[in-house]
Structures are given as C-alpha cells and as structure tokens.
Symmetry: C2
Subunit: 419 residues, 2 copies
C-alpha cells in the first residue's frame, strides 16, 4: 500500500432512524478533511454493492448546507438492506466478488453504519481481508433506535426516538384529560422494540413537574400476564378517570407467546376476503379491557413515526451520531480494522461521553436488554436509574430547516428515493 | 347595567386541539387589558358550570411566562364537554339555573371556544338572554381541527394539525424508501375528519421540491370504491416500489357504509373474549391489499397525536388563535351578543387575514366540506387550489419551552388534569 490515500466507501444497513444520516455526514466530512479522494456510498448497503449500485457522494453533497440538511433528514439517504453475509467457507465467491469491486474502486476504508447484523458484516469482511491479505480497513459505526447493541453506552438514533416518544406520550396524556369520560378510559400506546424495552421505557420521559407521566410501563424483558394487567387497570381506574399505559410491541406471556398473537381466537380475525390478520398488541389489550371492564379504550401505535421523526430530534443524538461517524472514519484512517466505534459514558451529570474503538468480534450478534434492576419490582414501571441513563440523550433540539412550513430534507437526485 | 365593568367567564368545548389554549390566553389577556375584574374559567364547559365547577383564572395564570406556556399547551386547559343544551321550551329551568349562576358571578361577558355544538350553545343562551332581559353578552370563538365550521375562512387548531400531518407524512414517505421491499409495499395512513376532508387533504403538504408527496389522497366528500382503490394501488406499484396513501377515517361507499365497517365479514372480527371489534379504515384497506395484491402493507393511524402535537404547532395558527380569542372578548366588551368571531381572508399571497363578527344564528350546526373543485376529477388527490388555501396556515413555528428535553406545558394546579 502506498502512503497516498485513495478512496472510502460507506454504507447504511438495517432499520432507518432519525440519526443515521448524521453519521453518514460525519463519515463524509471526516474523509474529506483527512484527504481521501472519493467517498463512495453503497446504495442499499452491501446488497446494492454486490449489484454494482453505488454513488460518488461528492456529486450529491456539494455544499455545507447539503451537509446540514443531511443531518436533519430521517430514513437512510443511501438506502439500507437486511442482507446477512454467508459464512466465508460457504460462499467464498461472494467475498471474492466484493473484494474485487472494492479493489476496482481503490478503497482504503470501508465504513458500515448499522446494528447487530451490520457488525456481523464488518466482522466477516475483516476476517476475509486477513485470509486474502487485503489492506482495506473495515470499521462499523453503530446505529439503531432499539439501543440493544452490546458494549456501547447507547446507540445513535435512540435519543431522538426516545425524545419523540416522551414528547408524544405527554401530549397524549394531556389530550386525554380534556373530555370527561363516563366510567373512565384506558389508552394503550404500543412502542417498538421486540426484545429490548429501551424505547418503551422512554415513555417515562413524559413525567415531570407538569405531568404525572404514563400510569404503567410494560417492557418485553419480563413476562406479561393479562390478568395482572386487567387488575392493574381496574385499580388505576378506581383512582383516576383517564389512564395511559405504554407497552412494548414485544410483550409476551411466561411461555413466550406474544400478546399480539392472543387475538387469534378459535374464530380467528378473518376479514371479508378470508385474510387472517394479526391484531396489534395495544389493540388486543384494548379489546380485553373493553370486554372485562367495559370502559372506553383507545389503542395508539407510534409505528414508523418513532424512528423517522427528525422534526423532533435530540440535539445530543444528532451531534453524537455525526461525531461517531467521524470517529469510525478516523479509526479506519489510522489503521484499525475489524472494529466498531462505541460510546463510553464518562459521567451522567454533567453528561460526558466519548468514543472508543472495540473489537467487532466481541460485539456482533449480542443483544443488550434493560437491566432487571432498572425495572420496578412489580414490573410495571422503570426506575430512576433508567431516567438518569436516558435523560441526557434527549437534550437539546435540532431545528429543522423549514421551507414553506415543512421540514426540508436532502434527497438523492435522479433517484426514486424522492418518493 | 352600570358602566363599571364586572367579570368575564370563558369555557372550552368539544375536541381538544393544539390551539384552543392560545385562544383562552387571548380571551384572558384582552379581558385584563380591558379592565374586567375577574376572568372565570368553566371547568369542562357549560356542563361543569351547571355543576358549579369554575375557577378564577388569575389564580392560575400569574405571569407572562404562564401565558406563553398556556399558548404552547395542547388539549384544553379548562377541560371540555360535549354537552348540548336542550331547546329553551323543553327545559327553561336549566336556563334559569345557568343565568342565576352567571348573575351570582356578576358576569358581563360569556365567551365559549368551540365548534358547531358550542355555537349552538351561544345561540341558545343569547336567545334566552333576550327572553329574560339579561344584559350578559354571549360570543363564540371558533375552534376545531376539522376546519368544518361555516362562514369562517378556517378554524384555529386546523393549521397546527395540518402542519403535523404534512410533516409526519413526509417523514413516513422518506422512511418507506430506506429498505427495498420485494413485490413493493403500500402504506395507508388514516387521518381524522369523519365528514370533511380538510385534514386528510393536508397530506398534500408533504409534497415539495424534495418529496413527491403521498401517491393518493381519499377524502370523505366523495364515495369510495374498494375495487377502484385496489386498481389504483396496482397501477402505482407497477411504477414504484413504495406507495403511501392518505385516507380519511370517514371514507364510505356510495351507499353510505363506512369502509371501517366492511371488515365485519360473516365470520366477524371477534377476539378471544368474544368482543366484536371494528377494524380501522387503514387496517381494513391493508388487509384487502394484502389479499388482493399480496404485497407488504402497513396501516398507520395518527390518532390523537394529530390534534395534540403542540411540539410542531404552526405559528400562524397559534397567533391567530390568540388574536381571535382577543377579538371575541373585544366584541362582547363592545356590546355584541349572539355572535361568533370569524376569520376573513383578504389575500392568499401575501397571506392576510382579519376577524369579523357574524350572527351565530347563521353559523350553528352548518358543516363546511372541501369544495368539489378542490378535489381532482378522478377523486384521488387534491388540487393546487387546496394547497394555495392551506399553505399559509402552516407557516412558522412556535418553539416549545423545553425543560429537561421535553416541552413544558401549563397545567391546572390542584387538579387531576396533571395526568
């Protein structure tokens, strides 16, 4: 390898977030600042690269304003994929194809922004580079709203989703008190995170000097009992007339059955076209409350809004995502490979957080759950420790760049991506 | 009546919005500025007043900061009701009771902030004041996210809901392009407004230089045909792999049956507890798409978020709501009664809008629909005229007052309202 720097390629993978493009901007800016010639972007991650789909980012990100817009654009500018590389021994040809493409593009650094599966991709590509003597450096940059990546204090994307959830739950609680409902009402809000309750726990952020917060929070880390839930609702309704409860989409019974699957009774949820439908978790629980208690109910799902709501992003999250993108490129530039950059928290108050480089072999495919001691004994709320952990991650705002009353995004010209 | 000013009473009624508290702040501020002694607030509207529930607002709104917080607080600070006054001839006692209470509180001006039903309340109270020779002046102040009040250019609350809908639809579209879905996907977003399509039409605001906007918009003003809808989806999927469609919760077939009712096939949607459920409009349409086309679908409901999202309120809306609250009090102060204040648009570009006072007898119980000519010929979109109408109403932002990363609200101390 000569000392002259050649090119960088970057990809995005997995579920979109409000912060993944800020990491992309960080990779791009740092690559330019450190003297790389070109920064290529894979379209739809490694899958797109295999199909020869990539762009020269400098043709698309031309001004400082473009970079600012990119940091404020949700989803994934380059597109993502859910492609898992096979084991090297099972398909060496595929690896040869990838490395031939990388050599053709004169790549020195390969940065992949994503969650668990993406770190698995980094690990395998690195392992193959050792086998075939390539000098390309492979570094992963974390991302997921689920916050379930091991060995990092938190993941970019989580803070903005948490802020959206806290804000929206508070607005729902406020709204629920406007009208007096005879016999009371129960509102069940369903939040993403199938196995880890980090997002659902963020509902606690609605609580403050001006709001009591949700009345109960159910994480998927603990088994869920429908009868206990109904008893809890009855108890709450005996004290107040409007009850708001946050549940994870992934709550399940002690024997591992998702609550969302319980709706399929012997008669089944079958529509007029004979199509069997799985009802949502919140919807199912509302139907049980309605029949067991007889009060008004409302099921609310945040759906993709919780991962895409750039308009209420956390400043800490967006800036940290930018920084860690830069840190990933810096690590690769300085010779690291087979690594992931992670956040290490130095202090809660004042909040201080730095980045470190860790061996990706220790990280890939490891899910991190909310610790048992951060959930209350009775399993219906999160503790103050949880709040202390999450509160710094939602601080500050990133004002959208508004055009004609609506946030402006950066989109890839000449591409269907525009929508 | 002596020339010395006595007291004012104000109430809120109907569905909550992001702007109704700004109107309350406008009434309060103008009443203080014009020299009224006390400003009472009915708790839960006329229904609460009948039960003797009211507060002295000056005990709760003590500082300029309180007023600013009130303008930024969604829901309804005083609480609302859906209470319709009987005809005077059917229950004169009830009216005597109300007027006795108003006399006891030494009320000169009675301001009611609400939608159609609230204007009916103003009309009846005014009529009774003529019958019994009372000098109390009754003035209505419009409010509804549905924007379906007649004789006013628009209603406070609509602009903020429209801005939230445009922003969120854009974020959903952006998000939908991140992952490539085999066979494509259709996302159906369900929006409030049972009879009038003003809110659903606002989905068009996602469209701009950086976004193609939703692919189709279905308002409740026109009959909905499920087969045409499926054909439209197929056609769209032949051109692009991610389709986003906005539908009103109130779309219905030509013979008046709500689409949300079609899910009840002969087998019925019955859950494990034997409780019959109405599926949502978007959910039903997604089930039809899944069975007829076989692609991935996602149903999204904005639910109460669209009326409560103060964190993305429109500045024009919040300021106009404040102004029209003040204008209502001013009208009553200057002797008007049996009136509603309305917006009259003087110009689209530059946007200019003033307030006028109209006879409430002409307004009550009159629903205003989206004009046929503002919907495209084929009924699957809104026209540029619609955009020209709504665009000025979403301009500008009202920065939330953030405390610890979450918007701060004003809540009534000593009241369950806190949630």
């Amino acid at each position: 390898m000569s000392n002259e720097k050649r090119n960088v390629i970057v990809g995005q993978s997995g579920g979109p977030t409000a912060a993944i493009n800020s990491s992309l901007a960080g990779v791009y800016r740092t690559a330019r600042d450190r003297g790389y010639k070109k920064v290529y972007g894979m379209e739809h991650g490694i899958q797109g690269l295999l199909e020869g789909r990539y762009i020269d980012l400098s043709e698309h990100i031309q001004t400082g304003l473009d970079e600012e817009l990119l940091k404020r654009t949700p989803s994934a500018y380059l597109g993502t994929c859910r492609f898992k590389l096979p084991e090297i021994r099972d398909n060496q040809e595929l690896y040869d194809k990838i490395f031939a493409k990388l050599d053709e593009l004169e790549i020195d650094c390969f940065i992949y922004i994503g969650g668990n599966d993406s770190m698995d991709t980094i690990k395998k590509l690195y392992d193959y580079s050792i086998l075939n003597g390539s000098n390309i450096r492979f570094v992963g940059c974390p991302k997921t709203i689920d916050n379930d990546l091991a060995h990092t204090d938190h993941t970019p994307g989580y803070g903005s989703a948490a802020k959206y959830i806290g804000t929206s739950i508070k607005e729902i609680i406020r709204d629920s008190w406007a009208l007096e409902v005879e016999k009371g009402q129960v509102i069940v809000v369903e939040i993403m995170g199938r196995n880890a309750g980090w997002l659902t726990g963020a509902a606690v952020l609605a609580k403050g000097e001006d709001c009591g917060g949700p009345d109960a929070i159910y994480l998927p880390e603990l088994p869920f009992d429908v009868n206990d839930f109904i008893a809890k609702c009855k108890n709450l309704l005996s004290k107040k007339r409007s009850v708001v409860i946050a549940v994870s989409e992934g709550i399940h019974t002690a024997d591992g059955k998702y609550i969302s699957e319980l709706g399929e009774g012997s008669e089944g949820y079958v529509d007029a076209f004979g199509h069997k439908q799985l009802t949502g978790t919140a919807r199912y629980l509302c139907s049980v409350i309605a029949s067991e208690i007889g009060c008004k109910t409302r099921a609310i799902e945040f759906s993709t809004l919780q991962r895409a709501a750039s308009h209420s992003a956390s400043r800490v999250d967006i800036l940290e995502a930018y920084e860690i993108g830069g840190a990933a490129l810096k690590a690769a530039d300085e010779g690291d490979s087979g690594k992931m950059v992670v956040f290490t928290r130095l202090s809660d108050d004042p909040y201080q957080c730095g980045t470190e480089v860790k061996d990706v072999h220790k990280i890939a495919n490891d899910e991190r759950m909310v610790p048992r001691e951060w959930i209350t004994e009775d399993g219906t709320y999160v503790t103050d420790e949880f709040v202390t952990y999450v509160r710094p991650l939602i601080q500050g705002d990133v004002n959208p760049i508004m055009v004609d009353g609506i946030p402006r995004h950066l989109y890839k010209t000449g591409y269907q991506h525009m929508g």
